[in-house]
């Protein structure tokens, strides 16, 4: 099963997130992640949805989305070069002895420490999904207390739209 990243430009109306996510569940399409925020145009929001399925599924997802009155445009981002980014906050156990090691990991990943507790550090990492997965793997041995990921947001590279 292929992973697809699609952008859905929608009217910024109450209930529109419910309409879009409801459609996925109801039609048996899988959502791996969904993010919503404002777009370049006032009144329009951009949702980025990561879903998996074959080409037939992607075609159906797209067509069904277009049936929603509030959906203006559906873009298959993954069909062109794209930049996909996700942010994670990871609160990891960090006794003074293990801190240097953790900071080494943070540096290698060009992540940042955004909060320090007596026994923990909060790490912020931005990157594609794989990078964040890798970072999480590396921090696991120290003991992850809390983890929050945003899901992917994405745009196509260069002039392609």
């Amino acid at each position: 099963m292929k992973k697809h990243t699609i952008a859905v430009i929608v009217n910024d109306q109450p209930g529109v997130l419910q309409r879009v996510s409801g459609l996925f569940g109801r039609r048996g399409f899988n959502i791996e992640s969904i993010t919503v925020g404002s777009s370049e145009e006032a009144g329009l929001s951009r949702m980025v949805i990561v879903t998996s399925g074959d080409d037939h599924t992607l075609e159906q997802v797209t067509k069904q989305l277009y049936k929603l009155i509030d959906v203006i445009k559906v873009i298959d981002l993954s069909s062109n070069p794209m930049v996909g980014r996700e942010l994670a906050l990871i609160k990891v156990n960090a006794e003074p002895a293990s801190r240097p090691e953790i900071l080494g990991v943070v540096e290698t990943f060009r992540a940042a420490v955004v909060d320090i507790g007596t026994h923990s550090l909060m790490v912020q990492v931005v990157g594609d999904t794989e990078k964040i997965d890798a970072m999480v793997e590396l921090l696991k041995p120290y003991g992850i207390r809390e983890l929050s990921r945003t899901g992917v947001t994405a745009l196509n590279r260069g002039n392609s739209k």
């Binding site: 209930g15 309409r19 067509k63 049936k67 009155i69």
Partner: protein
């Protein structure tokens, strides 16, 4: 019967009067907007959250509202009105239980692409989300079964929303649109200026087909040796039946119409093969399986039509014409996709189409097959046979009635034995298969067509799901002729239990049903009962002559089954032909 009263001139005057900019309440705006949309009959049921709206109706001579006895009756009536007229059906219900009582009817209309504007009241805006008395999140509940919905937040938006709702309901792939109006919005006042234009960004149904694809279709017709048309409800909804007739006449391609497509093509025509699918004709099903070109026009390859998908139309190049792009390739892979309005597509196709010359043998073969395998049953002079009853109804109405049905065996017999020649003469719940639909939908159909004979065919089971609407017929003298095919069981369930569950008859016995004649009379509707052919003919003819509503109960053989039948999971040419063969 309520006369529609207003002449054309007084209608114009009324329009002018109510279009004048004026400060009025949301309720007044609603009523005026509905009138300006051309709505001449609304079905509904009041309650706390819509009291301002009902107050605005009080003494309003322009506004025609029918009070049903259940919200389900109201929405099915609005649905029947829409299907039989092509106009948008409208119903009104209060918040909470009133609104949730509409759910089955909304889903019914959604599945069959019927244009409805459904108006519900809601608790005042500030109480929304607080589990207030009679609050239900009806926009949330109905999201999967509406084409679109609105929760009105500002009375200023109301004229635009109503106009948009009508536009959305009745364009593109049609469907129900919900407008949920909080009570404070229906009370709030503002300056009313009617909205007559609509621009909805992102909503532009494709009407005109791609030229390339049309050319491919024309070429495919030229090459085909065994071409076949499968026409569906989309033909009726687009008003493209004349174009379809021209297409068939020009190309001489044999045609089968789905359950919802009945009436889109005259059934007496030599090229008509009847309906396909689970209870379709032998010839229609066989022809799909051997066709080399299948032209689907406004049908959606429902599983009741296709049977087992993997073995459906295995030899055919598939053409699919549909206004809804999402239908194309959804169930059956399509070789030539044509997105567009059926009427518009056929107008264009007809300019280019020629007779399918290579298909002479095929035509002859299918015609012979139709003669050899018509729908058939073993008649009886002792017991009444339901098929015979439908034939009686067909004969006595010259095939000119509007027939509505409920769901079950009688529905299939009506589809098989009533021969339709005109579109919008057949009102039945196809996609959802909603029991309780048949009788109230007839009330709507009759309101839309005061001068036509409307016959509602029901089972003894389904009739008990909305029988309360007899009151509406009596009070308003709506002359619907209600037929009850009484086999004393949930017939279609009995049939499945006999054929698929080894005669294990579980909970199908309808003993304890009311005396339908007495029930009718209790409501003030004329009632008849017939148990043999002679009584049946006499009662039915008298009911037809009677100027008001009438109920005729035909007591029929309990064990009768609908044939042919394709069991679920079989391909459609694996038909059980039944006892008549």
């Amino acid at each position: 019967m309520i006369t529609q009263g207003a002449t054309l001139k007084s209608k114009e005057e009324m329009k002018e009067r109510i279009s004048k900019p004026e400060v009025i309440s949301g309720s007044e705006i609603l009523l005026r907007s509905l009138l300006l949309e051309g709505v001449d009959c609304v079905f509904g049921y009041p309650g706390g959250a819509v009291l301002y709206i009902y107050d605005a109706m009080h003494g309003n001579p322009d506004f025609n509202h029918l009070l049903t006895r259940h919200e389900q009756g109201a929405i099915h009536a609005a649905d029947g009105y829409a299907r039989a007229s092509g106009k948008v059906g409208v119903c009104i219900a209060t918040s909470g239980p009133g609104a949730t009582n509409l759910v089955t009817g909304i889903a019914t209309a959604y599945m069959d692409s019927v244009p409805l504007v459904v108006i519900t009241g809601n608790v005042i805006s500030s109480l929304i989300g607080s589990d207030a008395f009679q609050e239900a999140d009806i926009t949330g509940i109905t999201m999967p079964i509406t084409k679109h919905s609105y929760l009105v937040r500002d009375v200023e938006d109301l004229p635009r929303i109503i106009h948009e709702a009508f536009h959305i309901a009745n364009t593109g792939r049609k469907g129900p649109v919900l407008i949920d109006i909080p009570k404070d919005i229906s009370a709030a006042k503002t300056l009313f200026k009617p909205v007559t234009e609509v621009s909805i960004r992102g909503y532009n149904p494709t009407v005109t087909p791609n030229k390339n694809q049309v050319d491919k279709l024309i070429k495919a017709i030229e090459q085909a040796e065994r071409p076949l048309i499968l026409a569906g409800g989309g033909v009726v909804y687009s008003g493209g039946h004349e174009e379809l007739f021209e297409f068939v006449t020009k190309t001489q391609i044999p045609i089968t119409t789905t359950l919802l497509g009945l009436g889109a093509f005259p059934s007496g025509n030599d090229l008509f093969l009847g309906m396909p699918g689970m209870h379709g004709t032998y010839t229609a099903n066989k022809s799909i399986q051997s066709a080399d070109l299948l032209i689907n026009i406004g049908a959606r390859f429902d599983d009741r039509v296709t049977g087992k998908l993997a073995g459906f139309a295995p030899l055919a190049k598939i053409v699919h014409i549909d206004i809804d792009p999402a239908e194309i390739g959804k169930n059956v892979p399509t070789d030539i996709p044509i997105v567009g309005d059926v009427k518009t597509v056929l107008e264009i196709v007809n300019k280019l189409a020629k007779r399918a010359d290579k298909a002479d043998d095929w035509r002859a073969k299918l015609k012979a097959s139709c003669e050899q395998y018509p729908f058939s049953y073993t008649d009886s002079d002792v017991e009444l046979k339901p098929q015979w009853v439908v034939e009686l109804i067909h004969e006595t109405t010259n095939g000119d009635a509007i027939v509505t049905t409920d769901v079950g065996q009688h529905q299939m017999w009506a589809a098989q034995y009533y021969k339709f020649n005109k579109p919008r003469s057949w009102v039945t719940s196809g996609g959802l298969g909603t029991m309780g639909f048949g009788f109230p939908s007839a009330i709507g159909a009759q309101m839309a067509n005061p001068d036509r004979v409307v016959v509602s065919i029901n089972g003894d089971g389904g009739m008990q799901m909305c029988a309360q609407e007899l009151a509406i017929c009596a009070i308003n003298n709506i002359p619907v002729k209600v037929v009850i095919i009484n086999n004393q069981v949930l017939g279609m369930v009995r049939q499945w239990q006999e054929l698929i569950y080894d005669n294990r008859y579980s909970h199908i016995d309808l003993s304890g049903s009311p005396d339908f004649v007495k029930l009718s009379e209790a409501y003030g509707v004329k009632g008849f009962r017939a148990t043999n052919k002679e009584e049946a003919r006499a009662a039915w003819e008298e009911a037809l002559r009677h100027p008001g509503p009438a109920v005729v109960e035909f007591v029929v053989r309990k064990e009768e089954n609908v044939y042919p039948m394709v069991a679920q999971g079989s391909t459609i040419d694996e038909m059980i032909m039944g006892d008549a063969e």
